[in-house]
């Protein structure tokens, strides 16, 4: 018998922001599949116009409470490129260090609190904690380590106050950072243990032939800078993003969907970075990948939970490396006079590339702003995954299939507050 089903999730749980899922199955075929976003628009690109360039990082941080540093960093770097400023040496390291804190916090939050419960059949991490108290406690402790790294450098974990165009308001002293070293050494061990635990999860079989897009730096696993590359031959400077990528309005879709003009939809985030930039991971992270049983060429989106765990190990290792060699810089920021220009910035948010472009005038006032966050880039890929996944799982009950779909959406750790401010919304409800 052929299946007809409608899957509706009116309010997606364990994702950041307000989204819904709507899938229609007719004669075993997915005839409609929408990841709906009903998050109210907040108009960042509009009200950034007229602001001074120095105010922009604090404002863009408020796009997302989970990855504020991604926004602060991408907008700072865009402004620096407009101003012709170079941020290097210890200041550059310090940026990478605080960004590692965000990766750790965001990845551990997602793996332990938001995603692992799916694999183990719990509604949430709190339920999971009654059967896995040690593991959840370990996750919380690791997450706190990421938060404390951000707080020590940035003043607080959500919307840190210390990041500015050109560097930091105040560079921390060696003694302020020193106590973190021992804790991060613990964290590295703990993250290995976490990876081992996660490697025991039952991962659904499912593979997709993706085009992955990530930043690529000659000698570092990408966080703050690089060229944009893909596994299908894309290799461009970030300034050419708009030449190669577009946001199209799909008929009946409620949102703008990003695609590579020459081809189609693509994937950004941990899976893309891991597959494209694996070689640049430190030994510890490669060991973690071995424990997790993954290697480059991993095309199963459900394994992104393992990749996040590997990247957590990387972020801790990288943080440790920077902390051990840190010397407080003489100047906490670099500065110059503005003149009319346009600048572009792109960094690897925990969920993938976050691209910004700003134009400023001679007084340093923003005349135009454009922001492309990671989740809106992944949105059509999420829908595509569901279209491919569902026909292979029709034997599941409606409840189980619905849960499976939710879990597949959560593979992307979607951040809907981020995406919606740049998406077209249509509040058409069934």
């Amino acid at each position: 018998m052929k299946t007809d089903k409608t899957i509706k999730v009116d309010y997606l749980a364990r994702v950041e922001g307000e989204g819904a899922l709507y899938v229609k199955i007719k004669n075993d075929k997915v005839t409609d599949c929408k990841l709906k976003i009903f998050e109210p628009p907040r108009f960042f690109e509009a009200f950034l116009r007229g602001r001074h360039y120095s105010e922009v990082p604090d404002i863009t941080a408020r796009i997302c409470g989970i990855c504020p540093i991604a926004y602060q960093m991408a907008s700072s770097q865009a402004m620096e490129s407009a101003l012709g400023l170079e941020v290097d040496g210890q200041l550059r390291d310090l940026r990478r260090l605080i960004y590692c804190g965000e990766w750790i916090e965001s990845h551990v939050l997602h793996t332990f609190m938001l995603h692992a419960p799916d694999f183990l059949g719990y509604q949430d991490a709190i339920q999971m904690a009654s059967d896995y108290p040690d593991q959840v406690a370990l996750g919380l402790k690791l997450k706190k380590l990421g938060n404390d790294l951000m707080t020590t450098i940035g003043g607080r974990e959500i919307h840190p106050v210390n990041i500015r165009v050109g560097g930091f308001h105040r560079a921390p002293s060696e003694t302020e950072l020193e106590p973190l070293i021992e804790r991060i050494e613990w964290g590295l061990d703990a993250a290995m243990g976490a990876t081992e635990f996660l490697s025991g999860l039952k991962i659904p079989d499912f593979e997709v032939d993706y085009e992955y897009v990530a930043l690529s730096h000659p000698d570092e696993y990408p966080i703050c800078e690089g060229r944009l590359v893909s596994n299908r031959g894309l290799d461009i400077p970030i300034e050419e993003f708009e030449t190669h990528f577009e946001e199209i309005h799909v008929k009946h879709s409620t949102s703008l969907q990003s695609r590579i003009k020459a081809r189609s939809n693509y994937l950004v985030g941990p899976l893309a970075r891991f597959n494209l930039e694996y070689e640049k991971l430190p030994k510890s992270a490669k060991d973690a990948a071995k424990i997790a049983g993954i290697e480059p060429g991993c095309n199963n989106p459900f394994k992104s939970i393992l990749v996040r765990s590997v990247e957590t190990v990387f972020a801790l290792d990288e943080a440790l490396r920077i902390l051990k060699s840190y010397k407080k810089p003489d100047q906490s920021y670099v500065e110059t006079k503005p003149s009319r220009s346009t600048g572009i910035g792109c960094t690897e948010a925990p969920r993938g590339i976050c691209w910004h472009r700003y134009s400023i005038d001679d007084d340093g006032i923003v005349t135009e702003a454009k922001i492309v966050p990671p989740t809106s880039q992944n949105q059509s890929t999420i829908e595509e995954d569901l279209r491919q996944l569902i026909p292979t799982r029709l034997e599941l009950s409606k409840d189980d299939l619905t849960w499976m779909c939710e879990q597949a959406v959560r593979n992307y750790d979607p951040c809907i507050s981020c995406s919606c401010h740049f998406l077209k919304l249509h509040l058409d409800r069934e």
Binding site: R14, V15, E39, P41, E45, I59, I126, Q127, R156, L425
Partner: protein, 259 residues
């Protein structure tokens, strides 16, 4: 099921960045303890399980910006014994209230190619303008320890112990050197509600008012200081127009300095 009925907690999101509700997950040490003391009955960002109302305590994050949300907040109120707003979005309209000073149609055109799809209100308004609110917690984001204090106060039927002096006073308590006196840095500390523990001045920058105006701020004398340091009128306007732009005293003071 446990014989003692735990109070039911719900967390609601309106227009926001989720940072304030995330603060609840950021109290890592206390999280499992909180989960033991309350029944987290509706918190979609953390759990799939939804238990129907009524709820003993609702935490509301975010501001009202759509016709649908203007209705939804009434439903939330009806189901809640106590309703506490968390953060600048919910208590003052948030950064998205910058639209209140502009033409929203123009905004929609800038961001969206199909403005006709966007159903949004001209103004971003705090929850208080729609329903009765039992307590307002400030900050963009809220301070997580203050959030824990508010939770425990409401669950124990007592008044939250949240001090209402200024950030400037917090600097004095901490022994921070004044960034305005020492470096001539503009700082909204004197007119900003306490709660963060003076984070910005501790990092060598002025307060940008993310906790919103304190009660009865002396806003004119604040602006006089800003002028003396050398800020132009447009710069003063922008200083007040951030995450609490629509909060009474900040709004009035920014409008006062607009040509």
């Amino acid at each position: 099921m446990s014989p003692v009925k735990k109070p039911k907690l719900a967390v609601w999101k309106f227009a926001s960045c989720s940072g304030c509700q995330l603060s609840l997950l950021d109290v890592e040490e206390a999280l499992l303890e909180i989960a033991g003391a309350v029944h987290i009955a509706n918190f979609p960002e953390a759990s799939r399980a939804v238990v129907r109302g009524p709820y003993d305590l609702s935490l509301v994050e975010g501001s009202v910006t759509t016709p649908h949300d203007a209705e939804r907040i009434h439903k939330v109120r009806r189901q809640s014994k106590f309703l506490v707003t968390i953060g600048a979005c919910a208590t003052a309209g948030g950064i998205q209230a910058l639209r209140n000073f502009s033409n929203i149609e123009e905004y929609t055109r800038i961001v969206y190619a199909h403005p006709e799809y966007i159903k949004t209100l001209n103004k971003s308004t705090p929850i208080r303008e729609h329903v009765k609110v039992d307590f307002e917690l400030r900050g963009c984001p809220v301070d997580k320890m203050q959030l824990v204090e508010v939770l425990s106060a409401f669950l124990n039927n007592r008044k939250p112990n949240i001090r209402s002096h200024s950030v400037c006073m917090e600097c004095k308590i901490k022994g921070n050197p004044c960034v305005t006196v020492v470096n001539g840095t503009p700082c909204l500390g004197p007119v900003t509600h306490a709660g963060c523990g003076s984070i910005c001045p501790s990092f060598n920058r002025g307060c940008y008012g993310c906790f919103g105006p304190k009660e009865h701020p002396n806003r004119h004398s604040m602006s006089r200081v800003l002028t003396e340091i050398g800020l132009s009128n447009p710069e003063i306007v922008r200083s007040y127009r951030n995450f609490n732009a629509a909060a009474g005293p900040f709004r009035k003071e920014s409008e006062y300095h607009e040509d």
